[in-house]
């Protein structure tokens, strides 16, 4: 499936920015699931300083906000051909070893709730049936609800709040899977919802390493393994590592963010 994507993130500041950086992980890479046909980053109100590849092979672009700017907009756009892979990325490994994806992070630390969920997993080799069951249980316990959580909410917190968004679902799933000693990672990317061109937001899901299969993707929020409507952008241990944009600015200016995302065939 050929997907045409245009994704604009706009930051507005209530005072001129003296010095600020935005790190973009907004460049998809070709893999078994997807072939990037063309891709472009356009920056208004800022300058691209450099590109680099991080420890998870994400392609990053470091942007400096123009001095005195009150608005910076980052547009990633292009075309990606996706392939039907039944959510199986396979045995493709970067520099980060598998054991690294078994380690908890601040956002994916298991508390009593996650530990309880994790009991649904009986084997550390990863069983597709058990993992799908876990995914369904999480969605039942934590229905999709905007505003219940924030970007910094941890997996355990989201579980107790009993409501959350894709980031929370992915992190709860990852935390529970890791607690069962199975490698798991966070994926940020795009999902084309069939009924619309203007999408609400970028998406997030999880990948689990299953013996014999390699990396397999699970979208807890939608109760499925990702198909051709999904585009992978970045991966990491949690939502910090794989955030599409991470920013920092010096000074007093307060930042508000607005996202516009169009995906169509």
């Amino acid at each position: 499936m050929k997907l045409s994507i245009s994704h604009t993130t706009t930051y507005t500041y209530d005072a001129p920015v003296q010095y600020g950086l935005q790190k973009m992980r907004l460049t998809p890479v070709s893999d078994r699931h997807q072939t990037v046909l063309n891709w472009n980053l356009a920056i208004e109100g800022g300058t691209s300083e450099l590109t680099c590849i991080d420890q998870y092979q994400n392609h990053c672009t470091l942007v400096q906000i123009d001095s005195g700017a009150t608005r910076v907009s980052l547009t990633a756009s292009g075309e990606v051909e996706t392939h039907s892979s039944d959510g199986i990325l396979g045995k493709i490994y970067g520099s980060a070893p598998l054991w690294h994806f078994k380690q908890t992070t601040d956002r994916t630390k298991a508390g009593s709730g996650i530990a309880e969920l994790s009991r649904m997993i009986s084997t550390s080799t990863g069983d597709l049936g058990e993992l799908h069951a876990l995914s369904n249980t999480i969605l039942e316990a934590v229905p999709y609800r905007n505003g219940a959580t924030t970007v910094t909410t941890t997996a355990e917190e989201a579980l107790h709040l009993a409501g959350g968004v894709c980031q929370d679902h992915a992190q709860i799933f990852i935390a529970a899977v890791r607690h069962a000693e199975i490698p798991a990672r966070y994926v940020s990317g795009y999902l084309m919802m069939d009924d619309r061109i203007d999408q609400d937001a970028s998406h997030a899901w999880a990948e689990v390493h299953i013996d014999g299969l390699g990396w397999v993707a699970f979208d807890v929020s939608n109760g499925i393994s990702p198909d051709e409507r999904y585009v992978r952008l970045a991966t990491g241990r949690d939502s910090i590592d794989a955030a599409p944009v991470t920013g920092l600015q010096l000074g007093q200016a307060r930042e508000t963010m607005d996202v516009s995302l169009q995906i169509q065939q």
């Binding site: 010095y19 950086l21 790190k23 300083e49 450099l50 590109t51 680099c52 590849i53 991080d54 420890q55 092979q57 990053c60 470091l62 400096q64 970067g94 520099s95 980060a96 070893p97 054991w99 690294h100 078994k102 380690q103 241990r237 590592d241 991470t246 920092l248």
Partner: protein, 475 residues
């Protein structure tokens, strides 16, 4: 003294004779008028006050800035002793750099089962942001200060590798400078290898680590956390001696994809940054967002090949005291050679059998935190009170993996100058090593730290230790 010293004294042998490296010095010393030496000792203190050599002690507000006491009796090492030591240190430093490269790439040493994976995987000092990054020349630890102790004529042990951020080199340089000023005649009677080239060599070594995208002559700078850091004097001293800029995080920013410092003529690109800021605080964009000490985005600039950070972030994993216990295996794994220098026997309290032994023998052991340094948070069993032992037992039981234990070594002594003449005190030695893609260079000697209290084994300056000039004699 009534009883014969059971410790190996490096100057005076047990039978009352003077050891060979000290012959010329002793001949000179025995002719000195003690009151003149006492006056010289005062001169030395005044000299240190003038040059501003002080250090800050954490947690002691009243005495924030202190002089590290200097003792005027040099510690003397023969050429033969030094050759063996230097060979052993070089081998160890080479292996540590190969280990660090491996840990952040294919982890062959874990696959081979030499080190348990969990020791790396669950280690806070393992820095994921370094995975897959290859620094120029595969060098991670550019500036090393290997702590060596001696227990006998030919018995040298490595106590710590200090691959992360060794400090104290300024004392090595100032101690020599002081000795040269106070006793110039000694340096014509003894052929002592010079140390004064260190700043020049450091600068050359750092410049040789320039990143792939540096064109032209590399610019070196030192990044300091600022005047409140305990080693601020050393940061400014080294910058001054090397003729490079001393900068703080707020002086730096990303310019044209590089890190640049503010100067009167605009921004100037930095190619090699000798940073004395800890990993966690180095880059608020990529590590701790609340850090005001670091440089936002520097890790991205580093990954893009536009700057070299020395020592490399993530190097601290080699200083972990549980990893230390594997260094002989590490040396053998990467170099195919047996380790020349010995390790102190180390009990990893994470292992149940070891923990049991440690708890049963606490009063005889030295217990250290795996990530500790500077003598903080450690227990010296033989010197501890019943209550201290009991408190430490609690700590050990609640978090055993946080500790290792070692037997109390009978450290060698070198005399210090006291009212009644000479009196033996325990010492250690920290030679300073420079590593660049061009090779490994060790300054002859290093910093000798000396416990000033009789019988004490704690030489750390933060715990009341002093220093001595350290001589390595020419052949």
């Amino acid at each position: 003294m009534d009883t014969k010293p059971i410790h190996f004294d490096e100057m005076l042998a047990a039978e009352g004779s003077v050891r060979a490296p000290y012959h010329a010095y002793e001949a000179w010393f025995s002719k000195q008028n003690p009151s003149r030496l006492k006056a010289k000792s005062k001169d030395a203190e005044a000299f240190f006050r003038r040059t501003g050599i002080t250090f800050n002690v954490y947690g002691k507000e009243a005495a924030q800035e202190r002089l590290i006491p200097f003792d005027l009796i040099p510690r003397i090492i023969s050429s033969r002793e030094w050759t063996k030591l230097a060979k052993g240190i070089e081998q160890r430093v080479r292996a540590i750099n190969m280990f660090l490269y491996d840990i952040y790439h294919r982890q062959e040493i874990l696959r081979a089962g030499i080190i348990p994976t969990d020791l790396i995987a669950k280690n806070d000092a393992f820095l994921p942001q370094m995975i897959g990054l290859t620094p120029p020349g595969d060098v991670y630890t550019h500036i090393v200060g290997t702590d060596i102790v001696r227990t006998g004529e030919d018995d040298f042990y490595v106590l710590e590798d200090n691959a992360r951020t060794p400090s104290g080199v300024s004392y090595m340089l100032e101690n020599r400078e002081t000795m040269l000023q106070m006793f110039p005649e000694l340096f014509s009677q003894n052929r002592v290898k010079p140390v004064s080239d260190y700043p020049k060599n450091l600068r050359k070594s750092l410049a040789a680590c320039a990143p792939p995208n540096c064109t032209g002559k590399p610019t070196v700078a030192i990044l300091t956390p600022g005047i409140h850091n305990s080693a601020y004097f050393e940061h400014s001293f080294l910058a001054d001696q090397m003729g490079v800029e001393l900068v703080e995080g707020h002086d730096l920013r990303v310019v044209d994809g590089h890190i640049a410092m503010r100067t009167t003529k605009g921004h100037k690109q930095i190619d090699v940054l000798y940073r004395r800021v800890d990993d966690d605080y180095l880059d608020p964009l990529n590590f701790r967002p609340d850090s005001m000490l670091g440089v936002p985005g520097i890790m991205d600039v580093y990954r893009a090949g536009n700057i070299t950070i020395t020592n490399a972030p993530g190097t601290g994993i080699a200083d972990d005291k549980a990893i230390y216990s594997y260094i002989p295996d590490i040396v053998e794994f990467y170099t195919g050679e047996k380790a020349i220098l010995r390790n102190v026997e180390t009990y990893r309290c994470a292992e149940p059998d070891a923990l049991k032994y440690v708890l049963d023998n606490l009063a005889e052991l030295v217990v250290k935190e795996v990530h500790g340094s500077g003598g903080y948070g450690m227990l010296v069993g033989p010197a501890a009170s019943k209550k201290e032992l009991a408190d430490f037992e609690q700590k050990l039981r609640s978090n055993p993996a946080n500790y290792i234990a070692q037997p109390t070594l009978s450290l060698s002594t070198v005399p210090i100058f006291v009212k009644k003449g000479l009196s033996p005190r325990h010492v250690d030695l920290r030679p300073f090593v420079l590593v660049s893609p061009n090779g490994i260079e060790i300054t002859p000697g290093g910093l000798t730290r000396v416990a000033l209290q009789e019988g004490s084994l704690v030489v750390n300056s933060s715990q009341g230790g002093g220093t001595k000039d350290t001589w390595v004699l020419e052949e």
